[in-house]
């Protein structure tokens, strides 16, 4: 009797234990999933790097490129912190630079408030296109890289965003910042003072703030074309309580981007980029060791046009990853002038101690009467072939010729990686 009931008893026990086992399993799975559930804080490190080999004017060298980590902290749905470091070999050591560090707060669907240190929305190259894996050539266009005409970074507050306008679209930015900083250095009484304009005005040198912004208009429904207009004005860039306090700086830029992928007629993608920057600084005078005064007048331009073609629709995998690029760029500085009595501007040869360039703008000496180019004036042709290994890593080969008074050729092989 018992022998017949035993299987039934075991079956009943298993049946009753099933839900218990399942419940335990579900609880464990749930706990495991809960442990994987992301919190409201979301951290991510991205960035880019490059390395390569270069021959410039006959001198060859391997170059270990920049390591530029970008840190993103997203807190909840509205707050984002972003920061970029740039770590690179410089001279005998390693140079660290904080490219930007800022906090964004999303106000609504069309507006973001951002404050801190941010890339200046002056044109498009500086803010959007400079990372090594995005810039299609190993070098930046003249006047858009480390010798910029125009501001590159701001310490300030900004409203920005984008909005649809029917079938078109706009994006916009308006900011207030410390603005550029005019520095006049008198090394000693025997040498003329040097002047420079620096964008790293993190401890504002006066009470005049820069006001600037950019409007981008995308007239096509497919966002293929964007035309941007940027400006920045600062009523005073010199140190407070000095004779240079009221020197104003005014800059503007126009940028264009035209991108169309998968064009059947040419079996590929076309990408056109162009930008023109101009910076003007009020004329001012510096006192020379001999007691004379020298007029300093700055009106500087930089520009580039770049066209790229990638046969992305080619049946060959190799060809579809190839991209051909051509670029023309230039930088025009106001001509240098000889020193003269106050009020006079005499075109001619740059005196010793002529202005250097750095940061947010260019500085040069000169008048306007004669079309003589300053030492820094250059134009450049650059041609490149990229092989895209992945969507964010490319092997770049390029050849460029930079013309000043003589032509300087350069050959580059770079490997660029975004991560």
């Amino acid at each position: 009797m018992m022998g017949k009931k035993l299987p039934l008893l075991i079956f009943a026990l298993l049946l009753s234990a099933g839900p218990l086992v399942a419940q335990t399993y579900n609880d464990e799975t749930k706990e495991e999933l809960e442990s994987l559930k992301p919190g409201t804080t979301n951290f991510l490190m991205r960035g880019y790097s490059h390395a390569g080999f270069e021959i410039i004017d006959g001198n060859s060298s391997f170059v270990s490129g920049t390591f530029a980590p970008i840190f993103l902290w997203k807190q909840g749905d509205r707050i984002l912190f972003e920061s970029e470091l740039e770590i690179e070999f410089e001279g005998d050591g390693v140079q660290f630079a904080l490219e930007y560090a800022n906090i964004s707060y999303i106000l609504n669907d069309y507006l973001v408030f951002r404050f801190g240190n941010f890339l200046t929305p002056f044109g498009a190259f500086n803010e959007r296109l400079h990372p090594a894996w995005i810039n299609k050539l190993p070098t930046a266009p003249l006047g858009m890289g480390h010798d910029p005409v125009g501001p590159t970074r701001e310490f300030g507050a900004e409203l920005r965003g984008g909005a649809p306008l029917g079938n078109t679209k706009i994006n916009y930015s308006l900011y207030v910042s410390n603005g550029p900083l005019l520095e006049v250095h008198a090394e000693d009484s025997l040498e003329p003072p040097t002047t420079s304009i620096n964008g790293l005005n993190f401890d504002d040198n006066n009470d005049d703030k820069a006001i600037g912004g950019r409007i981008g208009f995308l007239p096509f429904n497919n966002s293929a074309l964007e035309i941007g207009v940027s400006t920045q004005y600062t009523a005073g860039i010199g140190d407070r309580n000095t004779e240079y306090n009221d020197i104003a700086s005014f800059g503007y830029a126009v940028d264009l981007s035209l991108v169309k992928n998968s064009i059947a007629a040419i079996k590929g993608n076309l990408d056109l980029k162009a930008q023109w920057n101009r910076v003007e600084v009020d004329e001012f005078h510096i006192e020379l060791p001999d007691g004379d005064e020298q007029a300093i007048n700055q009106e500087n331009d930089a520009y580039y046009v770049q066209l790229a073609y990638r046969p992305a629709l080619s049946k060959s995998n190799f060809l579809s990853n190839i991209e051909l690029i051509g670029r023309y760029s230039g930088i025009d500085l106001t001509e240098p002038a000889e020193h003269a009595d106050e009020g006079d501007i005499v075109p001619g040869v740059a005196p010793p101690g002529k202005a250097k360039l750095s940061g947010a703008g260019l500085s040069s000496l000169g008048g306007e009467e004669e079309e003589v180019h300053a030492e820094g004036d250059r134009t450049q042709w650059a041609f490149g072939i990229n092989y895209w290994i992945t969507w964010r890593s490319a092997l770049k080969f390029s050849y460029q010729v930079t013309d000043n008074e003589e032509s300087v050729p350069g050959f580059f092989i770079h490997y660029a990686l975004g991560f």
Binding site: N167, N171, L272
Partner: protein, 102 residues
């Protein structure tokens, strides 16, 4: 600006824009309002996939959805919204597409 440089710049720009007009500026069939014929006045609601292709490619290659996790795409989406001036709707659609495709 030196006149010859300005002339070169203008010439290159004109040639480049002409090339585009000749080959590439028509809207693609996937996104054109013309597809709606008489209903063309209605706004075309674009998918996340279309917005991903159109907006990312303005600056760089469109990213591979499998490159990042769902959570990571959230942070990247917000970052790109701020950087590229995207609207909330565009950002949400692109992030959702990337999360569903990774």
């Amino acid at each position: 600006m030196k006149r010859t440089n300005l002339f070169k710049l203008t010439l290159i720009l004109v040639v480049a824009i002409t090339t585009f007009i000749a080959f590439g500026c028509g809207t693609s069939k996937e996104t054109s309002g013309d597809d709606l014929g008489d209903l063309g006045s209605f706004k075309v609601e674009k998918s996340g996939a279309v917005l991903w292709g159109e907006n990312c490619a303005r600056c760089h290659n469109a990213p591979d959805p499998t490159a990042f996790s769902d959570t990571q795409w959230e942070a990247i989406g917000t970052h790109m919204r701020v950087r590229a001036g995207l609207t909330a709707e565009e950002t949400n659609k692109i992030v959702t597409f990337l999360q569903q495709s990774n």
